[in-house]
Amino acid sequence: MKKKIVIPGELVSEERKQVGSHVFMENGKIYSDALGLVYNDSQDASVVALHGKYFPQRDDLVIGIVVQETFAGYIVDINSFYYSFVSKEFMRDRLQRGSIISAKILSVNEINEAELGQVRVFYGGEIINISPVKVPRVIGKNASMMEALKIGTGANIMVGRNGRIWAKGGNTQLLSEAIKKIEVESHLSNLTNKIENFLKEKNNNA
């Protein structure tokens, strides 16, 4: 199916429908609020934005970095518009500025502030960044891309929906090269095969 590209303010649907992400209703019509692709069926209208910061969604797994400790908990940067907060109630480990955690988004309020839970702390490792809208490509269908990356680099990988990838062990240098490649070529089909070949080639040369 051919998807239509819209820019902010462009008409998405003239009919009344359920409004999904990146659309808004005005005088009974639905318009896009972003540059993106239209997903329009009989009941819902939404737009998948092609660029932008991370909009927190409930149940997303994100990777955060502790910015500051406060009396009751920790302020965490999740690569979005606002910092998030984790209460010490949920934590056994003591964290400090710079600690890397993964967490699940328990809820998001109307101004996109996220509440975090199910916190896991990472010791060591490093963070690789990617545009949040390209995260699905790093995961791949049935996590196929993740598997390819793990096998090809030997690294332990955790992908956050917020555009942060935590990696430890293996060849993390090669991993960041591969992720850069995914980001640049994300529009090409058969990307998983291409990345597999890329990793094989690099490993053979080494």
Binding site: I5, I7, Y31, L50, H51, K53, Y82, P136, R137, H187
Partner: protein, 259 residues
């Protein structure tokens, strides 16, 4: 007023001194996503005018006391490079730049869903690299495209154009020679193209209400033309995504950034 003696004809047989018709824009070229560090960016060429715009945010507004608990702030900075004008410009931002920054930021506020991002700021920086009249509208057109490139939710684009009078004729998109005409009137305007809401409007010169009616009509028409160029520039960046989407694909999501 003595300048009137050296009378120049600014429109002759429907053509202007630079060969354009009275309702014709100078060539306009827009490209988005030109700066890698910015959240959104745009390079624009409009006749001799050359501008680059970058958008950062929404990000936490600092110091904290400037934060607005109801909406995001818009900080718009219009600056001219020292070499962008015939004489070297003082690098210190002048009163003109300050005023333009203020009214341009206000023009964009209506377009952005500011209420979704309380306590944050959206910073927009526009640098003029070369100029030949009409830089404030060129800057605004670039800024609006950069905002869309940054994925900041908007009600509509902001499209802008200069309209005015030279040699007694109402014309679109005045160049510097026309702006220097003895009877010149310069009217920068910006609209939300979908609803024709006017978000920026300034004027200087002597104008009658009848002339204004003509100028407004022409300005609205010009803004719509500019809008089409903005739309094409944004779509162009993602045209390949559309193409890819139409093919069977094995993966969960396809998004591309167009290399």
């Amino acid at each position: 007023m003595s300048k009137k003696e050296e009378k120049t004809e600014y429109v002759k047989n429907g053509k202007r001194l630079d060969g354009r018709g009275t309702e014709e824009l100078r060539p306009l070229k827009i490209e988005v996503g030109v700066l890698s560090r910015a959240d959104g960016s745009c390079a624009l060429e409009w006749g001799q005018n050359k501008v680059v715009a970058a958008v950062y945010g929404p990000r936490e507004a600092l110091p904290k006391h400037i934060q607005n608990p109801y909406k995001a702030l818009v900080d718009y900075q219009y600056r001219m490079a020292t070499f962008s004008v015939p004489d070297r410009k003082n690098p210190k931002p002048g009163r003109r730049e300050m005023e333009i920054s203020k009214v341009s930021g206000e023009a964009l506020e209506k377009a952005i869903f500011l209420e979704r991002f309380p306590n944050t700021t959206i910073d927009i920086f526009v640098e003029i690299l070369d100029s030949n009249a009409g830089t404030r509208v060129a800057a605004l057109v670039a800024a609006s495209a950069a905002l869309a490139d940054a994925g900041i939710p908007m009600r509509d684009m902001v499209s802008a154009v200069g309209v005015g009078k030279a040699g007694g004729e109402i014309i679109l998109d005045l160049n510097k020679d026309e702006e220097d005409a003895p009877d010149a009137v310069d009217i920068p305007m910006a609209i939300l193209p979908r609803t024709e809401e006017i978000v920026l409007l300034q004027m200087d010169g002597l104008l009658t209400p009848e002339e204004w009616k003509k100028a407004l009509k022409l300005g609205l028409k010009g803004c719509k033309q500019v809008y089409e160029v903005q739309k094409e520039a944004l779509r162009k960046k993602y045209l390949e995504a559309e193409k890819e989407e139409s093919e069977p694909n094995t993966e969960t999501a396809t998004q591309e950034e167009g290399e």
